[in-house]
Amino acid sequence: MAAYVLRRVLWGVVLLALVSLLTFVVFYVLPSADPAQLRAGRNANPATLAQIRASLGLDRPLTAQYWTFLTHIVLHADLGYSYYSGASVGSLIVDRLPATISLTLGAAVVWVLAAVPLGVVSAARRGTWVDKLTTGGALLGISAPVYWLGLLALYLFADDIGRFPLFPGAGSYVPLTDDPWKWFTSLILPWLVLASTFTAVYARLLRGNMIEVLSEDYVTTARAKGLSERRVVWNHGLRAAVTPLVTLAGLDIGLLLGGAVLTEAVFGIPGIGRLNYEAIVHADYPVIQGTVLLAACFVIVANIVVDVAYAYLDPRVRER
């Protein structure tokens, strides 16, 4: 297992190098905007532009720029400095990461806690009103775009503009270390909104898995040995139906840790997603590189974690 993980990590490093090259090509070689132009302001004369280019290192050959970028990461763990604010990319990410982690992990708890009972109950009581309500609600949840749901939630429940001012609204995020209670309340709406789509997807997936599993022979065996229906469904059924969901949850969480752009934007949460979005608007290439690499890192780590978790959850996988 250790050798397997090591191999996966090495592959992950190779993958990260490829991702960095790809981002570099997309933003430096085929730029969407000229960072020097953006910094110089209107009516800048060519001399100023050239000076800015030189100070940012943009006048050097592309290969040299990429080489500098790579060696700085590898040798100094240095992601460079923002063109826009001048702050180091590393410190920007460290500042923003807690908000994204808070949002993602909290939402993940909500969607797992909501989707598992919904999926199990609607599978065990297929065709009843519980099932129909869940299936219908899931369709809504999957169809509704997150930014629309977010705005709707703010319109209904935010304490500044809401019809029923129950929860803090947009821009109310407070770091956990400053005030845990305010941190918690400010994230209630974002958690629910971000979790809604995932709840719907997971509940539907689990329902499908459960229906399949409940017709398996070993479920009949469980009934034949006199287990209660509750135990049959929640132990034997769920145990087998939940494994694919664990995989999916790992990947989704990894993806969201790279930045839940829409939710962060709607609720004004200063997370990685917003950082990335702002960097693109400002053609702030070092920050773009940093956030993209971070996201790729999360996805790669999530993949490794999921594979290891899968081997733990399904003993049949371990031998391979």
């Binding site: 070993y218 009949t220 040995k225 006199g226 229906e229 145990r239 494994t243 049949r316």
Partner: protein
């Protein structure tokens, strides 16, 4: 012979499907006494498994229509509440399934699955006691290294070992009745004999009644005291095993016997498959249900539905066939000599 412990009386089971009402079991009556084995024989789709799983209350639901009685020690299980059924299942009446790989939970250790069977009927039993008992049970079904195997997952055991573990689980609470549904079909031939021998040994040790469901008359010949032959949801012939093999009466039984390899068959006798396929249970054939496949069919058989009736000389031998007893004896005498029909 003692009184039956499990008696199925005029059991009918139908499934409401999109294609229509599937009459899987159509008026079946059998019983089994402690220490004895009833073999139920038939092709797939003959209703033999549905009858047995219905007896255990495993076939229930909005789309299932059931009538008749299933008497376990005199108590009608078809009328029992779900909680009452749960208490009976695995405790008084237990079941062994065809394919132990799919019948054991793939993600749970074998010992844990046995311990669970124990503890679901003995609320006071500690986890440690249940585990110790699980090891004993595995030893009892002759699994070597039971102390290690108790922590194995099903996929880590061989097919024969898995079926032994399955049997250990079924026997955990020393049931009075064991239903074994094709317990050897998924296993290698050499392992099949070991498992049958194990089942016989346990039946005798525990004084259990055993219902052995199979499509293999060879398995029945070795193990069963009584035999019921099922065809299209009904019993077409029922007799003590020795009597059935000595003087089979139903053309379908003849077909089964002639399609089975035997060492005592006359030299040159060929294995003869039964022509045709099992009939639709949504629109069963008119008259005798076997008539479309029967080599001895007469015009009358297409419209008259034969009842299961005792033979004149041997009342414990019953058959549902419109041929006269004399005709049947004459035909079987010819067939037993190796005649083609």
């Amino acid at each position: 012979m003692s009184d039956p412990i499990l008696a199925v009386e005029d059991l009918r089971v139908a499934f409401d499907t999109r294609d229509g009402l599937v009459q899987a079991v159509d008026g079946v009556t059998w019983s089994v006494a402690p220490g004895r084995t009833l073999g139920i024989v038939g092709e797939s789709g003959s209703g033999k498994t549905v009858a047995a799983t219905t007896a255990m209350g495993l076939v229930r639901g909005a789309r299932v229509r059931t009538s008749g009685r299933v008497l376990l020690e005199g108590e009608d299980l078809l009328a029992a509440s779900p909680e009452r059924l749960r208490r009976v299942r695995g405790a008084t009446i237990a079941m062994v399934f065809q394919d132990p790989l799919s019948a054991l939970h793939p993600l749970m250790r074998v010992g844990a699955q046995i311990a669970e069977a124990l503890r679901s009927h003995r609320s006071g039993m500690s986890a440690a006691d249940a585990r110790a008992r699980a090891i004993e049970l595995l030893e009892h079904v002759a699994i070597p290294n039971a102390r290690q195997r108790v922590d194995a997952y099903p996929h880590e055991l061989s097919g024969g070992m898995r079926q032994r573990a399955m049997i250990a689980m079924a026997l955990a609470n020393e049931p009075r009745v064991l239903i074994a549904d094709e317990p050897t079909t998924a296993l290698d031939v050499t392992v099949q004999r070991q498992i049958l021998a194990l089942l016989r040994r346990l039946r005798d040790e525990l004084g259990m009644a055993m219902v052995l469901i199979t499509h293999d008359l060879g398995v029945v010949a070795e193990t069963a005291d009584d035999v019921a032959v099922m065809y299209a949801g009904r019993i077409v012939e029922q007799a003590p095993a020795a009597e059935l093999f000595a003087a089979p009466q139903h053309p379908y039984t003849w077909g089964l016997l002639r399609s089975m390899p035997r060492l005592d068959a006359p030299a040159g006798a060929e294995l003869v498959p039964i022509p045709g396929r099992p009939p639709s249970l949504v629109h069963p054939p008119s008259g005798c249900r076997f008539h479309p496949r029967c080599p001895y069919v007469r015009e009358r058989h297409r419209s008259v539905d034969p009842a299961l009736e005792p033979l004149a000389g041997t009342p414990e031998h019953r058959v549902a066939c419109l041929l006269s007893e004399a005709e049947r004896r004459a035909i079987w005498a010819r067939l037993a000599q190796g005649a083609p029909r």
